[in-house]
């Protein structure tokens, strides 16, 4: 009996010691947004389940992008998990900079990840980052103003309808702008919006030989339509408005419509922050009847840099943070409207989540976006609001600066497009694509 007890004690001690020996502290670089900050608050749950501690490095999106890019390209090893997006993942995966997530547990159910998300976060069929939350873009509109204008928003409107509705809702005397859209320079700000919009007008960044396409009618139509509509019905200074500026305007009741990220739906319907929370409707991003809508696809995802020494702990964290259990945990503590959206199919099959007002439109928007087939005419790149090549961020930032200057009236649309054409072709030639 004594021997049995001694053996049990030794075994227990051995297990405890082994557990302690494998308890790691992982460092995670992440962005500052509501869902990521919420996740940090639940880190104790992960630590309790696995014994691993977590150190967070939270940075503003652009700073984070520069920081993690520097680290991964130099194999710095400062982070065990990096929060990256759909733009970086396929490029970094192809370069062998990320650990393939092809060995996730059966319990994790990787097959439950929304196909559009899994596709955008993979390279040659291998998943390199697990989506923490995903988003598309859609129309958020004021139901009361739409009613006052005597119009009814269809589920899938055209750009012509949107322009007409914007003009009808505009009431300058009462500081109401019919439509608020991003115009701010930056590839992830106004650049993302206009690229997604151009898809619906039949435009594309490159033809199959990587020649810039800004000299086409499709791009001229896109920019002229955007500028014409915004000059008629947009807010003053729209050329410098990004997500936050438009969110602020919409929450204060100064926008009739806003086309932007689906995650904004939870902000504009939150009565604590939004003055119009009870009169917001949703619709798919508009099209022009050419077969492509103007919505984008994006995910913030967790990836493991190839040089990490703590791959096991990092994998465990990713399985925890992007699991069905985590969604249940947040729902139990903070309600279904606050769970990270857009990553898992099962979330949209959940009866509780179906009652969230923007759930179905978010799913429909995500499902209607295809990063592998985003343009009307064939294009050589993957991505909807971007082209997943390393050169794109730099080129698109410059191009969007030219576009913003056109919105602000500092140059004509024709001049902006001519400059965009030259900038892009020069850069692509220098990079060896042409």
């Amino acid at each position: 009996m004594k021997l049995a007890n001694a053996l049990r004690a030794a075994t227990a001690l051995s297990v405890m010691t082994t557990g302690a020996a494998f308890a790691d502290t992982i460092t995670i670089a992440t962005v500052n947004n509501g869902d990521m900050i919420r996740m940090q608050g639940y880190t104790d749950d992960f630590t309790a389940k696995t014994g691993h501690d977590v150190e967070w490095v939270t940075l503003e999106e652009n700073v984070l992008r520069q920081r993690v890019t520097t680290d991964i390209t130099t194999k710095g090893g400062a982070f065990d998990i990096m929060t990256i997006g759909m733009y970086e993942t396929p490029i970094w995966g192809a370069n062998g900079w990320l650990v393939p997530l092809d060995n996730l547990s059966a319990e994790y159910d990787a097959g439950d990840i929304l196909p559009a998300m899994a596709g955008g976060l993979s390279h040659e069929g291998t998943l390199y980052a697990a989506p923490f939350y995903g988003e598309s873009s859609m129309i958020m509109y004021r139901t009361d103003l739409m009613e006052k204008a005597g119009m009814e928003m269809p589920d899938a409107p055209t750009w012509d309808f949107v322009r007409e509705a914007a003009a009808a809702m505009t009431d300058r005397d009462n500081e109401i702008n019919g439509i608020c859209l991003r115009g701010k320079a930056g590839w992830g700000e106004g650049g993302a919006f206009i690229t997604a919009m151009s898809n619906s007008f039949g435009a594309r960044w490159f033809d199959m030989e990587w020649n810039a396409q800004f000299d086409t009618d499709a791009w001229a139509n896109t920019l002229n339509f955007y500028k014409g509509m915004m000059d008629e019905s947009g807010p003053a200074g729209y050329a410098t408005n990004g997500f936050n500026e438009n969110l602020s305007l919409f929450q204060q009741g100064k926008c009739g419509m806003w086309i932007d990220a689906t995650v904004a739906a939870s902000f504009v319907t939150n009565p604590n922050d939004s003055t119009v929370a009870d009169s917001v409707g949703f619709a798919l991003a508009p099209d022009t009847g050419l077969g492509k809508r103007s919505n984008w696809l994006w995910a913030w995802a967790l990836a493991i840099p190839a040089g990490t020494q703590k791959q096991d702990a990092a994998t465990q964290f990713i399985e925890w943070a992007t699991s069905k259990d985590y969604i249940e945990l947040v729902a139990a503590k903070e309600g279904w409207a606050n769970v990270p959206p857009g990553a898992r199919t099962s979330l949209y099959e959940n009866e509780n989540y179906k009652s969230v007002p923007f759930a179905q439109m978010t799913l429909d928007s995500i499902l209607s976006a295809d990063p592998n087939n985003s343009t009307v005419e064939p294009s050589p790149y993957v991505g909807i609001q971007f082209a997943a090549i390393p050169e794109f961020a730099g080129i698109a930032t410059e191009v969007s600066q030219e576009f913003s200057a056109a919105y602000a009236g500092q140059q004509s649309v024709e001049d902006a497009l001519a400059k965009a054409q030259a900038i892009t072709n020069d850069a692509m030639e220098a990079a060896g694509y042409r």
């Binding site: 490095v57 503003e60 520097t70 400062a78 936050n244 204060q252 995650v263």
Partner: protein, 276 residues
């Protein structure tokens, strides 16, 4: 009549100085006010100036979410360490340039200043790789060296300017009295240049405190100072201006207090030799 005009002019100058002072301080004041608002009040249009329900909630959230003291301590070490190290190197360098100039002194001074004209991002990768090789990534020691090197040209230039105001004959007299080089610098030159050295120290401390490129790119957890603390509250997708303002206020408070108490010394040092 002339006297009345002078009084009027003085009043005008005073009013203008107050106006300019207020304009310069207004962004800081606005940040501090915003830190006591709710997120909805922070973005209200028209903006609310004072008529809002003051709340400490943002400070409470920031305290709960971040280990402020760790960031503060790192800022003190980095700014203090780089300032002390830089001064130790700059005093002898400025002494030699001021009192034992060579044909190339002016060229060296200009060359030192020219290093400030290089965009930092241009040397990010070489420095990052060096830090990896030397095991200095996310270490205070590495950051102290980098910040010292960044500000060294300014310290040398400032000290050189102050030292040039000191008559060389005094140092010569000390040498004739048998003072060694070390004694000459420590016991004769340094006490006479105290206002200049103090203002240089303060300015360098402030520059190092506010440095936000290297401190963000070369740190992660252990050496991250208050610049990283602020960066963690900035977001292009979400309105967290009130929390960002609370974090900013907490980050700038120590340096504001330091500047307030040392303003006399700072002004005296910065205007040292300006009027002859």
């Amino acid at each position: 009549m002339a006297r009345a005009a002078t009084t009027q002019r003085k009043a005008l100058n005073t009013a203008l100085a107050w106006l300019i002072g207020f304009l310069i301080f207004f962004p800081i004041l606005w940040t501090i006010l915003t830190s006591f608002k709710t997120e909805a009040q922070a973005i209200a249009s028209p903006p609310i100036f004072l008529n809002f329900d003051w709340t400490l909630e943002n400070y409470s959230v920031v305290q709960e979410r971040s280990d402020y003291m760790r960031f503060l301590w790192n800022s003190i070490i980095l700014a203090g360490g780089s300032t002390i190290l830089g001064t130790m190197i700059a005093i002898p360098a400025a002494w030699s340039m001021a009192f034992v100039p060579s044909k190339r002194t002016k060229d060296i001074l200009l060359w030192m200043l020219s290093t400030k004209m290089l965009p930092a991002v241009g040397v990010l990768y070489p420095i990052y790789l060096l830090f990896i090789q030397l095991g200095l990534l996310d270490s205070r020691a590495g950051l102290v060296i980098v910040l010292m090197l960044i500000n060294l040209p300014i310290i040398v230039w400032m000290l050189y300017t102050y030292f040039r105001e000191i008559p060389g004959e005094i140092l010569e007299a000390a040498r004739m009295d048998g003072a060694t080089l070390k004694e000459e610098i420590l016991y004769v030159l340094t006490p006479m240049a105290i206002p200049g050295i103090a203002s240089t120290l303060l300015l360098n401390f402030i520059l190092a405190w506010n440095e936000a490129f290297w401190t963000l790119n070369l740190t992660a957890v252990d050496a991250a100072p208050l610049t990283a603390f602020i960066a963690s509250y900035s977001s292009p997708e979400g309105l967290f201006f009130a929390k960002l303002s609370a974090a900013s206020t907490m980050a700038i408070a120590p340096i504001l207090i330091l500047g307030w108490f040392s303003q006399k010394q700072l002004v005296r040092g910065l205007t040292f030799g300006a009027v002859k």
